[in-house]
């Protein structure tokens, strides 16, 4: 296993930049997720690492080797495709053995390795079947075994879970994570599903329009999003635009004064607040909280573990509040008056203004 380094990698199609000046290092044994909406360039980036798409400019190294202009079959990456891409005319064992055969591993040595790989994905005894005789989840595991048996330097996953049903997706996700940890695989995982990315990756790269928006651990990105895009794409956020007004105070355009903690650059004009950081309390409550606003309940939605309440502040701004579905918390019917309260550290000052509507 090796580290993967991308240095100012760009991909242009005519005048359109699919990926722009992408620089990043995947540490040895690290699990990195490329996350973003469709068309953000995440799959293009992955396919450039695998060698299927030539870069327009920039450099890609795997371990100590510059692979920028090396064809895919000499890169030693192990890729799992969205549609599994199993060879339909070969048995499971032949599928898994294919990479070893290409590496001229003698049959006597290959057979036990194939068996070992199938055991790793809990498919021992399935070697003689054909892909069409397996379920989606099983096919997915064959694809994993096939990519891993050759001991690739980098493990590449292109939306590997998107064709599975919800329950299976959860199980296979955990399986992939455990395999990755156990084998110490340097992994790049592409997904548009933020929950998937948050739960499996050591680090996330959030991409938008061919560029990196923010890089960090799942906690960093969720708790300290730097841009409107990240705050909006990862989880839910309430946004307030406005401007700074003295030390630790942000005045929204609706007139609400938000008290925040920590530094903020002078031009800050947007604040994000996660819905679960907000609390609803009775109007006569006297608790000391940094931010308090009177509001009226407009809509209550039951989401199972969470109750989503949309309230309108006296300033006219609407805010979404997530409360745990617990009996100790009071719930408020539509039309009732409440106080919304939140701590100073819940106000996240973003570095850039909200995108202007086109």
């Amino acid at each position: 296993m090796s580290e993967v380094v991308l240095t100012r990698v760009s991909k242009h199609y005519g005048n359109v930049a699919a990926v722009r000046e992408f620089s990043f290092t995947v540490q040895q044994g690290e699990f990195v997720a490329l996350l973003g909406p469709s068309g953000c360039g995440k799959t293009t980036t992955l396919r450039m690492i695998a060698g299927f798409i030539p870069v327009t400019s920039g450099r890609i190294t795997i371990g100590t080797k510059d692979v920028t202009h090396v064809p895919p079959h000499r890169r030693n990456t192990g890729m799992v495709f969205q549609g599994y891409a199993l060879f339909p005319h070969m048995t499971v064992a032949q599928n898994v053995a294919f990479g070893l055969e290409m590496r001229k591993v003698p049959k006597a040595e290959a057979a036990p390795r194939v068996e070992e790989a199938l055991r790793l994905v809990r498919l021992e005894g399935y070697g003689e079947r054909y892909p069409r005789q397996l379920s989606g989840g099983q096919q997915q595991r064959v694809a994993l075994a096939r990519a891993l048996v050759v001991q690739p330097e980098v493990f590449l996953l292109d939306e590997p879970l998107s064709n599975l049903d919800a329950k299976l997706r959860h199980d296979v996700r955990i399986e992939i994570r455990q395999l990755q940890r156990k084998l110490g695989l340097t992994t790049v995982f592409v997904t548009h599903d933020q929950e998937e990315a948050l739960t499996v990756a050591d680090r996330l790269i959030v991409m938008n329009k061919g560029e990196i928006e923010q890089i960090g651990t799942p906690e960093e990105l969720y708790n300290r999003p730097r841009t409107h895009f990240v705050a909006d794409f990862l989880g839910k956020s309430n946004f307030f635009s406005g401007r700074l007004e003295g030390e630790g105070i942000f005045r929204t355009t609706g007139g609400t004064a938000l008290r925040f903690a920590g530094p903020a650059s002078a031009g800050a004009s947007l604040v994000a607040v996660r819905p679960e950081k907000l609390r609803l309390v009775p109007v006569d409550s006297t608790a000391e909280v940094a931010n308090t606003a009177r509001a009226r309940v407009e809509l209550v939605t039951f989401l199972g573990a969470i109750i989503e309440t949309i309230v309108r502040l006296e300033s006219g701004e609407t805010v979404t509040v997530h409360s745990q579905n617990q009996t100790i918390d009071r719930h408020y019917p539509v039309g009732s008056d409440v106080l919304v309260t939140w701590g100073a550290d819940a106000n996240l000052i973003l570095e850039e203004p909200a995108p202007q509507p086109a």
Binding site: H73, A85, F87
Partner: protein, 281 residues
């Protein structure tokens, strides 16, 4: 068919029963009409009388032995097989790369190229035969190499008959091949050539088999175009039959034709085992 089944499920008023009967009758008549020539050819080939008249005066197998003993037929048959096999192979060698270019390529004129590849289907054989004959004669004048009435000349002309089939059938198979499967092979260390031989080719095999059979049939049964390109000592079976008919009208022609129909029928049945023809054609 669908309509008939839908009606079958619940007993309806008598008008439905009448409609169903009429429908089946029409279908039966259409099939009977289409099969009539084959049935008659088969029947006539067993007639005992030398001049074909109805009703037959008796039945015999002797036309089959007489046809087999006719050098013009056996030589023509061998030539047809030779020409058919060579043009089939040459058609595949040219048609497979052409299909890749048409299906995978992104270049201006791709649609036009596709249309060009299929165009021999719509050019009348007589026209194509005349054109190729004139072209061959010109070539002979320029190069002093003989083309008309040679095996290479015939094969070259027949490749034109096979190309539309190979390109059409192989393109249809190729469209269904998931590119990521080929990428997976390359990702696992297969060179582009190995990927083609081990992954792509097996996946388009049904199309290739169907293309081979249809190419062979197209070449084997061609009369009009071939008419211009044969010469003394080199004739295909169809030409031999035509020449024979100029002097005689006995059932040996029917016997040869029925053997042909049987061979082609078996060819189609074999193809059908590899690929459901209705899906590809």
């Amino acid at each position: 068919m669908v309509a008939a089944q839908a009606i079958d499920r619940r007993p309806g008023p008598p008008t439905f029963a009448v409609g169903r009967f009429a429908y089946r009758l029409v279908v039966a008549l259409v099939f009977a009409f289409m099969l009539m020539p084959v049935v008659f050819v088969a029947w006539v080939s067993f007639f005992a009388n030398e001049i074909v008249t109805f009703p037959p005066q008796g039945y015999t197998l002797s036309w089959y032995t007489r046809a087999w003993a006719n050098r013009a037929f056996t030589d023509g048959f061998l030539t047809s097989i030779q020409v058919g096999l060579f043009s089939m192979v040459a058609g595949l060698i040219l048609g497979i790369p052409a299909s890749f270019a048409i299906v995978r390529g992104r270049f201006p004129g791709r649609e036009a190229l596709n249309a060009l590849m299929l165009s021999p289907l719509v050019v009348p054989g007589v026209v194509a035969g005349t054109a190729i004959y004139i072209y061959f004669v010109q070539l002979e004048i320029w190069t002093d190499v003989r083309f008309v009435a040679t095996l290479p000349g015939l094969v070259a002309a027949h490749v034109m008959l096979t190309i539309p089939w190979t390109v059409r059938l192989i393109s249809a198979s190729l469209v269904g091949v998931d590119r990521s499967i080929e990428e997976a092979a390359m990702n696992l260390g297969a060179t582009p050539l190995t990927t083609f031989l081990r992954i792509t080719l097996p996946m388009i095999r049904p199309g290739v088999v169907a293309a081979a059979i249809f190419s062979f049939i197209a070449s084997f049964t061609d009369l009009e175009m071939t008419l211009f390109l044969i010469g003394p000592g080199r004739s295909t079976l169809q030409i031999a039959l035509l020449q024979y008919l100029e002097w005689k009208f006995d059932p040996s022609v029917a016997a040869v034709s029925f053997v042909q129909v049987t061979i082609i029928g078996i060819g189609l049945l074999v193809t059908d085992r590899f690929v459901k023809l209705s899906k590809v054609v």
